[in-house]
C-alpha cells in the first residue's frame, strides 16, 4: 500500500509538471504582451514597458521563464532590485502587477473562502442527496419518490446563478428571514456565527444543484444494489430490514459516491465562479474571473495550475479511500 501511494505521488508530481507546462505554453503564445499589460490598458510608454519586462523576467527565453517559475515554487522569487525590490517567498506563483501583490498571497486569501463554501455545500448535498436518494429507492413509486423526482428536476434544471438570485430576492430582501449579506467574508476562526450566516445562502445555492444530481444517482445505485444476490443472502440470514438496507445495501451503493463527491469537491475548490459572483464572496473563482477580465496573466496561470493540482491530488485521495472501502481494489 505504501509503495503504491509513493508511486502514485510520483506520477501525480509528473502530471502537475505537465499541466503547469501546458498552461505556461498556452499563455506564452496568447496575443498579449504581459509586460505591456503591467502599466494599464492605455499605457504606451515603451520605457516603462521595457523596464517592467526586465523586472518581471518576461525578457528571458520561454524555457528559462518556465524554469524560473518552477524554481520560484520551491525557493521563492524576487522581482526588481534595490528600493523597488519585491520578494515573493516560496511557494511563489508569480507577481501580479495589477494587484501589486504576490499571487501566492492573493490565493492564500481567497482559498479559505472557497474552501468554506465548498465544504459546507458538500456536507449539505451529501446529507440531502444520500438521504433523499435512499428514501426514494426504498419507497419506489410512493409519495417520497415522486416528490424527490420533482426536486431532482428543479435542482438539475435551475442554473446556480438563478437559484442564488432568487434566494437573495425572497429570503433576504422580500421576507427578511436573513440579514443582507454584507459581502464581507468573515473567517471562521474570527466569528463562526457571522461566517455561517454569510455562507448560508451560498451553501444552499451550491448544494441544491448537486443534491439533486446525487439524489438521482443514489436512488438508482440503491435500487441496483438491492437486486444483487448478496442482498438476498443478507435477507435470508434473517437480518432485520434496517440492517439489510443500512449496512449491506448502502455499503455497496455508496462506494461510487465517494469517487463522485471527491471529484465534484475538487472541481468546486478550483472556484465556484457563479456562486461566488452572485454572493460577492472573495474566493478563488472571483479571483480567477477578475484576472481574466483584467488580463492579469500571472493570476490566471496560477489559478489554472492550482485547480488542476487540486483535481489531480483529489483523484489520488479518492483512489486511496476506495482501496479501503472495496477490498477487491486493494493494491499490492
Amino acid at each position: 500500500m505504501l509503495s503504491y501511494i509513493s508511486r502514485r505521488l510520483g506520477v501525480t508530481f509528473l502530471i502537475l509538471l505537465g499541466v503547469s507546462f501546458t498552461v505556461y505554453v498556452i499563455f506564452a503564445f496568447l496575443p498579449f504582451d504581459p509586460a505591456a499589460l503591467t502599466c494599464g490598458k492605455n499605457c504606451n510608454d515603451p520605457g516603462i514597458i521595457e523596464a517592467n519586462r526586465r523586472r518581471l523576467g518576461y525578457d528571458l527565453p520561454f524555457l528559462t521563464q518556465y524554469w524560473v517559475f518552477i524554481k520560484g515554487l520551491f525557493i521563492g522569487r524576487t522581482y526588481g532590485e534595490g528600493a523597488a525590490l519585491i520578494n515573493c517567498p516560496a511557494p511563489s506563483l508569480g507577481y501580479s502587477f495589477q494587484e501589486h501583490s504576490c499571487v501566492t498571497t492573493l490565493i492564500s486569501e481567497a482559498l479559505p473562502v472557497t474552501l468554506s463554501l465548498a465544504i459546507g455545500a458538500l456536507v449539505l448535498w451529501i446529507v440531502v442527496g444520500v438521504g433523499l436518494g435512499v428514501l426514494a429507492a426504498r419507497y419506489r413509486g410512493k409519495f417520497v419518490d415522486s416528490a424527490s423526482t420533482i426536486f431532482v428536476l428543479i435542482g438539475t434544471s435551475l442554473p446556480t446563478f438563478l437559484t442564488g438570485l432568487m434566494l437573495l430576492v425572497f429570503v433576504v430582501i422580500k421576507w427578511h428571514i436573513l440579514p443582507f449579506p454584507a459581502g464581507n467574508y468573515t473567517p471562521f476562526l474570527e466569528d463562526p456565527y457571522e461566517w455561517a450566516q454569510i455562507l448560508f445562502l451560498p451553501w444552499i445555492t451550491l448544494a441544491f444543484a448537486y443534491a439533486a444530481l446525487y439524489t438521482r444517482f443514489v436512488r438508482s445505485a440503491v435500487i441496483e444494489t438491492s437486486n444483487e444476490d448478496y442482498i438476498r443472502t443478507a435477507r435470508a440470514k434473517g437480518l432485520p430490514e434496517s440492517e439489510v438496507v443500512g449496512k449491506h445495501t448502502l455499503r455497496a451503493a455508496l462506494a461510487p459516491i465517494i469517487t463522485m463527491a471527491g471529484l465534484d469537491f475538487a472541481g468546486l475548490l478550483g472556484g465556484a465562479i457563479l456562486t461566488e459572483s452572485v454572493f460577492n464572496l472573495p474566493g478563488l473563482g472571483r479571483l480567477a474571473i477578475g484576472a481574466v477580465v483584467e488580463y492579469d496573466l500571472p493570476i490566471i496561470v496560477a489559478t489554472t495550475i492550482l485547480a488542476a493540482a487540486i483535481v489531480v491530488v483529489m483523484n489520488l485521495i479518492v483512489d486511496i479511500l476506495y482501496a479501503f472501502i472495496d477490498p477487491r481494489v486493494r493494491i499490492a
Binding site: D229, Y230, A236, G238, L239, A252, I325, D326, P327
Partner: protein, 332 residues
C-alpha cells in the same frame, strides 16, 4: 415427523400483460432429516416456490396464497401466513438457504468471517467472540483449510467451490432443521460439484437437517435425494422416491427428462434425445395438461382429453403419484 407441510401454494406475479402464474396450487411435505429434490427446467417454478417459503419474494410484486406449516424451535408456524417481521426470526435460524451462484451471493465488501459472525449474532445474544469461535468451527467443518486465519479473507480471495463452502458454513451456523439448496452446484465445475454434494450429505447427517434440493440436474438427484418432486409449468407433475422415479417414471415429461441425461451404462450410439417444443406461457396456461402440446404419448389417451382436461395428481404406487391420464388407476 413431518417438518414442513405445504398446501395449495400458488404464486402469481401481476404484469401489464397479465398475471404470470409461476406456481400453481402445489402441495408437498418433507420429513425431518430427509432430502427432497425438486427438479424441472428453468421457469418451472422451483426457485419461486422456495423463495415464497423463505418470505424472500417482494410482497409488492408477488401474490402468494396457501399454507406452509413448519415445526420451528418455538412450535408450529405458518410460513406463508406469518407476519414478515416475525418470519425474519426463523430465517437463517430454523430454515437456511444457499444459492446458485456463490460468486455473487457473498457480499464483496465484508470478510467471510464478518458475514458468518453476523448470521450467528442476529439470532443469538452472545459475545461476538463466541460467534467467531462458531464461525471458525463451521469453516473447518465445511473444509476450508486453516479457518482461523482465513476468517479475515474476502470472498474474492476464494474460488467458486470454496465460496460455496463458505455459503454453506454461513447457512448452517445456527443449526437449522431445514436447508434449502437452490441449485447449489450449477455454477461449479463437475469435480467440485461432487465435493459439495458429498459435503452436504455429511453435514446433513451431522446436523440432522432436512434438505430441499432444487436442481435441474437429474444426475445430482440420483446421488443425493430420497424423494423427488418433478415440476412443470408451476405444477408438481410427478412425485416419487428416487428409486421408483428412475425405474418407473409415470409421466412422459419425467421420461423425457431421464432420456435427456447422458448415461455411462447405456450404449451411446444415438444422439441424446431432447423434448421437442417450449414450455407454455405462464400467463395463459393451457386448459388441459400443460405438457400435452409437447407430449409424445398424447395419442395413447382417447379423444383429445389431454388438451381439454387437467389430470389430477393420482397415486401410482407407494408414495408415488403422477399427473397424467396414462396409467391412471393402475397401481404398479
Amino acid at each position: 415427523m413431518t417438518l414442513l407441510e405445504v398446501k395449495n401454494l400458488s404464486v402469481g406475479f401481476p404484469t401489464p400483460d397479465g398475471v404470470v402464474h409461476a406456481v400453481n396450487d402445489i402441495s408437498f411435505s418433507i420429513d425431518a432429516g430427509e432430502t427432497l429434490a425438486i427438479v424441472g427446467e428453468s421457469g418451472s417454478g422451483k426457485t419461486v416456490t422456495n423463495l415464497a417459503l423463505m418470505g424472500l419474494l417482494n410482497s409488492n410484486t408477488a401474490q402468494i396464497s396457501g399454507t406452509a406449516r413448519f415445526q420451528s424451535h418455538t412450535g408450529e408456524i405458518d410460513l406463508l401466513g406469518i407476519d414478515p417481521n416475525e418470519l425474519q426470526k426463523y430465517r437463517g435460524q430454523d430454515i437456511s438457504m444457499i444459492f446458485q451462484d456463490p460468486m455473487s451471493s457473498l457480499h464483496p465488501y465484508f470478510s467471510i468471517g464478518d458475514q458468518i459472525i453476523e448470521a450467528h449474532q442476529v439470532h443469538n445474544k452472545v459475545d461476538p467472540e463466541v460467534s467467531k469461535e462458531r464461525a471458525i468451527e463451521l469453516l473447518g467443518l465445511v473444509g476450508i483449510p486453516d479457518p482461523a486465519s482465513r476468517i479475515t479473507s474476502f470472498p474474492h480471495q476464494f474460488s467458486g467451490g470454496m465460496r460455496q463452502r463458505v455459503m454453506i458454513a454461513m447457512a448452517l451456523v445456527n443449526n437449522p432443521s431445514l436447508l434449502i439448496a437452490d441449485e447449489p452446484t450449477t455454477a461449479l465445475d463437475v469435480t467440485v460439484q461432487a465435493q459439495i454434494l458429498s459435503l452436504l450429505k455429511d453435514l446433513q447427517r451431522e446436523f440432522k437437517m432436512a434438505i430441499i434440493l432444487i436442481t435441474h440436474d437429474l444426475g445430482v438427484v440420483a446421488g443425493a435425494a430420497d424423494r423427488v418432486n418433478v415440476m412443470y409449468a408451476g405444477r408438481i407433475v410427478e412425485s416419487a422416491n428416487v428409486f421408483d422415479l428412475y425405474a418407473k417414471p409415470a409421466m412422459p415429461y419425467t421420461q423425457g427428462l431421464l432420456d435427456s441425461v447422458p448415461r455411462l451404462d447405456r450404449p451411446h450410439t444415438n444422439r441424446l434425445s431432447a423434448i421437442p417444443g417450449q414450455p407454455p406461457s405462464m400467463i395463459s396456461l393451457p386448459d388441459g395438461c400443460s405438457f400435452a402440446p409437447r407430449c409424445s404419448r398424447i395419442s395413447e389417451v382417447a379423444g383429445s382429453k389431454c388438451l381439454t382436461a387437467l389430470p389430477e395428481l393420482t397415486l401410482r404406487g407407494d408414495h408415488h403419484s403422477a399427473r397424467c391420464f396414462i396409467g391412471e388407476g393402475v397401481r404398479a
